[in-house]
Amino acid sequence: MDMKATKKKLGMKERYRILTRDLGWEPGYQSKKAIFPYVEYEGIKVHDWDKWEDPFRLTMDAYWKYQAEKERKFYAIIDAHAQNNGHLNLTDARYLSALKIFLQAISPGEYAAHKGFARIGREFPGVGTQVACQMQAIDEIRHAQTQIHAMSNYNRYYDGFHAFADARDRIWYTSVARSFFDDAMSAGPFEFMIAIGFSFEYVLTNLLFVPFMSGAAYNGDMATVTFGFSAQSDEARHMTLGLECIKFMLEQDPDNLPIVQGWIDKWFWRGFRVLGLVSTMMDYMLPKRVMSWREAWEIYGVENGGALFRDLARYGIRPPKGWDDAEQAIDHMSHQFMLGLYQWSFGTAFHSWIPSDDDMAWLSAKYPDTFDRYYRPRWAHIKKLKAAGTPFKNYGLARLCQCCQLPCVFTEPGDPTLTCHRETVYKGEKYQFCSDGCKDIFEHEPEKYIQAWLPMPALFSELGGDVAAWMDWVSLRDGADNGDYDGSRDQRHFDEWRGLATSNL
């Protein structure tokens, strides 16, 4: 039976009001304080939650529709990639090391972000905020899933993908990302928003995702490019949420400024340390490189970040405290990291290698002030050791930073030839750090960071220093997942299969 519509469809604005703001109500038999107990202890003062603007005005019904459409496209391409042996279109299987690090360190971060946004969606009193956080919580779990699904194809053919969850929890180079998210999730809701919504999503995501997804495209990895596209429109929404939150806090009360500034200082530095992994992927692990880490920093750090902080200056916000130290580290960090990854490669669930002569020529062109002077001599010596049949393995495990949990591979600001040594004593216990930035973060909240579970000391405290037992415990298969790419099973398989696909031998 045909019925005549008596009423016009709701307009966008009205629809948003009804499906979002209209869902809130004034509690009758419980106090607001009892319902939202975590919203005040961080010291952020909010006078009017209705001032929270959601620039996207997305309602849940529309959200589901968009996301479902993206999922359908994503899985169609992933299936095609699997059926057509898409892995043989890679430039080279060295590329997979970047992917393995991403899967072990970053994808679990998406899942952690999901848990965090689900939590703060409950903890914030404002309805607009609750809905936005709820959507982001669903986005983040979708990102974790699509990334895992996209990369699971590679697990059929290559080593190092099979136990990413164990690697996330137990291995040493992932703890920089894990501790970043653990730190954020054990903070209050406002600090969480600055950590993930602002620092990670707004200031740093471009440096992580743009080079990484372009790297995937340059190196023939359609599976990864596809999840990049599928996540892209979400990221735009996340960035807006982060920026909106920071402006909201600053506009609500002038007392919020010093607290927010402290969080920006802290989370910029913590995020910058996570990016250390990314710098190495960009400069060393992509067989076909997109741009250098230095070039990416110029665009996404200096230009975009600079514009952002100029915009926030009207609220009294200044650029993060560690900005100058970060700028100094740009020309060094990828080299310092890769040298570390190579000498500890017996303990990594991915392969590393000595850069070829061509690679070194590229690095010296991109880093004219630092590579030949500081890093080429080390690589040259390592190459000599390998040629002599005594490849360099550093079995002296590394001192880890109590805050970012990375090996202390970083040098003194102003002296790239000297390791940065920082330490402090708290309640009679000594703690070591990689930098002033990390030491400052510790000293602001020592009761939090003294609890850090540091993977390398734990090898001694929990496993008595037994490296073979440690490998079992982190699900690392010695001789398959770890070590030099040169001579690895990944290298052999890729060359053999690609040979079958492209020749008649």
Binding site: E42, R373, Y374, T419, K430, Q451
Partner: protein, 118 residues
């Protein structure tokens, strides 16, 4: 306030010396010798004579550096807590006042092959 929290909060330090089965952590690094990407971590009984640490585990780890063969422990300058320090090789770690998670640095002025090659 030592942590931002709803009420008083006391953390538990994870790396206390009691957790290391009678041993302790010592960090060692050779200034300006960055072939070793980070300070080295050793886990040793506090009664280990300092000279034995130098001749044993440390010497083994340092071998890869081209300056290692010429190292003369009588000539190196030491730092502990980033301050000048004079260890007695015949005394133990404990006897030298080297505590759990202490960082020792040593310097060999004039010897820096991998940097000079640049």
């Amino acid at each position: 306030m030592a942590v931002t929290s709803l009420k008083e909060y006391i953390g538990v330090a994870r790396d206390r010396v009691e957790n290391y089965g009678g041993k302790q952590i010592v960090y060692l690094s050779w200034d300006h010798h960055l072939l070793f990407a980070a300070p080295l971590m050793l886990c040793l009984p506090p009664a280990t004579p300092f000279g034995e640490v130098l001749r044993g585990p440390l010497a083994a780890l340092l071998q890869a550096d081209p300056d290692a063969a010429a190292l003369d422990w009588n000539e190196v300058e030491w730092l502990k807590d980033n301050q000048p320090f004079v260890p007695d090789p015949s005394l133990s770690l404990a006897g030298n006042g080297i505590g759990h998670k202490d960082q020792l640095r040593f310097r060999t002025p004039g010897r820096n092959t991998l940097l000079a090659a640049a």
